[in-house]
Symmetry: C2
Subunit: 472 residues, 2 copies
Amino acid sequence: MTVPNDPNRKSTADSQTSHEFAPVMSLERQLPQLVDHADVDKIEQLLEHYPNHELVRAVSLLDDHARGKLIDLIAPELAADLVEQLPTVQAVQLLEEAEPDHAAAVVNELPSDLQADLLSDLDEDDAEAILLHMEPTEAQSARELQQYNEYEAGGLMVTELLRYPDSWTVQDVINDLQAGAEKYRDYQIQYAYVTDGNQFLRGVLRLRDLLLGSRSQVIRNIMIPSPLSVRANMSLEELHGFFQQHHFLGVPVTGDNGQLVGVVQRADVDQAWIEIQDRSFLRRQGILRGEEIRVMPIWERAQGRLVWLSLNIVLNLLAASIISRFESTLAAVIALAAFLPIISDMSGCSGNQAVAVSIRELMLGLVKPRDAWRVWIKEVSVGLINGMVVGVLLGVIATIWKGNWVLGLVVGMALTINTLVAVSIGGLIPLLLRRLGKDPAVASGPLLTTVTDMCGFFLVLSLASAWLEYLK
Amino acid sequence: MTVPNDPNRKSTADSQTSHEFAPVMSLERQLPQLVDHADVDKIEQLLEHYPNHELVRAVSLLDDHARGKLIDLIAPELAADLVEQLPTVQAVQLLEEAEPDHAAAVVNELPSDLQADLLSDLDEDDAEAILLHMEPTEAQSARELQQYNEYEAGGLMVTELLRYPDSWTVQDVINDLQAGAEKYRDYQIQYAYVTDGNQFLRGVLRLRDLLLGSRSQVIRNIMIPSPLSVRANMSLEELHGFFQQHHFLGVPVTGDNGQLVGVVQRADVDQAWIEIQDRSFLRRQGILRGEEIRVMPIWERAQGRLVWLSLNIVLNLLAASIISRFESTLAAVIALAAFLPIISDMSGCSGNQAVAVSIRELMLGLVKPRDAWRVWIKEVSVGLINGMVVGVLLGVIATIWKGNWVLGLVVGMALTINTLVAVSIGGLIPLLLRRLGKDPAVASGPLLTTVTDMCGFFLVLSLASAWLEYLK
């Protein structure tokens, strides 16, 4: 996803605002027929006029065959625009279904970071076939970028950048900009990068410096020397922090030996950050692979979900085994059975609140793993208040409902204590996971609920066992 | 959060990469003492050299008094840089604790969108006191921006923009850029906007057009005419879609009568989007207000969490009432008690997976509320597979564990059927909430688990009641 600075021309004077599009109802119904009839002109016209989210939706509703055909039909530039908008799984599917030479023509038009991402996600054979049909220089650069992880500076950078020797004059640069206008159309050209004879980064030129300076000046003298740069292996998290600290639109990337290899743009980092949050959301909700859309094959979707479900059965059995141990108590006071799921769920909720605050504070850099003590103090103080409130509430309800105040005391006490346990674990587990280098967003929830379930069931049932004579 | 295009100069040649900072261990220990001793020079030096996340953390660890004093001590520009980085709650706290004239000097330095956000969040009295001390033009523009919602184009836009009459020449513009260099330092000046005598937007100038054109040309002739613009009331969601579709760095905003009022930058939209996702994450985890950091007062934090906890007790009691109705069955087959929480939790998981996919597909625009039927088909096909797998798994475990195959059949069947119920509800509830204009991310989970709990308990216990003679 490059961010060129070209506001599109709009020809019609009445379409000043962006939401006045043609009626959108029928696109998803029109497209399959148009593809079927290979009506290229009409398709290309639609692609230019419909808002992207409608296009993405219409394309995702096509069957596999029609999707491949669509890409084979339309101009590579248009297909590339479309591919840029699609979720990765779909973009990959689409390239796999197209003819290799058509797919290659499309990939040629993509920004270098996306080329590398998609080629990495394709089957090796498909990727190889596409690379063979690509322009040699594009293929070469895609191969080079594939060595980087998708979510580090090397994987996020584009190699399309303006790079000038430090001995050039302002006029030389302007001549090059004029000569290369077509090629640079999609470049992000807020900055040009100045290198020495060894391709080492020496400075940054802002367009405004070119504008305000005299044309005979050597750019070495008007560039900003020794600019900030990042290494190709800088992580997304570090890059996100970097752009929060520095108000740049992009930062140059240097390779192992200090040579300028590309530029990472703020917009791409923000996009990747949003993607990662999305994946993390799916993971947290039990789709451990971090990706599922409903056009994926059923078996693949079922499998992706089963990983977590089968793990969860095991965790649940641990908690259930506690209940089984107290079967005689439970049989004696069967009214307790209705309260076990309540204690489990309520404690889970309190714990999850604490998990959420810890994860967020970790992300914002407000806490670190070494702050465990401070976090715990803050959590138990809130947990004490909330535990008492919900404990008394549930205790009173239980007393009235079942007509036994000892039963009310048992469930109320259990809930109060277990709330304290839950917020303690919930607050600390993300810190511990972070210290161990794991993603706290995913594993915190399951670990929390397993422990709080076990502890909650144990508290209710052992208190009940102790006071059994008053409960019968 | 403006995005000026000024790469900072770095003076030392060896600090080519951004992660070579001074040792960071001691900042949070140094800062309180330095504030206490009012050592302004040392503090300002630290602020310039430490990475932002360390600063944010160190500031958040100060007590209220020290935070106010810190802002009163340091230069307003530095304080403004700091305020820009802090979470909103903290930034607001900090301005409230500083003297109004100091706070005003800081707010003067902030970009206009952030000024309006913070002033809206302050106590009315505090905000008024600060506005009185601000520069009149800044105060005026902040008051105007406060009328917009924080998350619509008017609230996200900055009013700092380059605006030129269409009769000017390139040379006129360059002269103005040169004269205003200091003032424009923090502007986002990839584009300049061209207006007619009535302040209507007529065109957009790219810096590169100024650079490549001759200096005597009138800008009307080199501008891009009739550029895309958005209305001040465009929602964040629409803006997010807009920037996904158009590769611009910013888009001009027009008021009700079509006059140019500001510019919304891509980076600000991305930031706001990330903020909204953050809030949505906290809400989903039971912090309904969408904001909590641990420096907030305990009572406020406890209250914020109790809203959801007390609501949740009610939902839980609904489910528990089902169990109570079947007490005699449960008393007769006490082994079932251990399986009730398992059925509840496993179904909740399956349902949550479906919720997650629906929410994500809604966000990506891949599904719409009217797609309910297609979504349901896709969900039950996966639910059938997964329900059978986990049902058989749990059934076999129950048979072996409790030595009764009818019991295994009961829990297995209940889990299979309830998985189908869960994925159906989970897949459809977000679509329904979206149709009703509610945020699907927050309410889907609780609604889902309440229904699946009730349904799951009912299935196990009514199946058990029917086959009671084989279970005893």
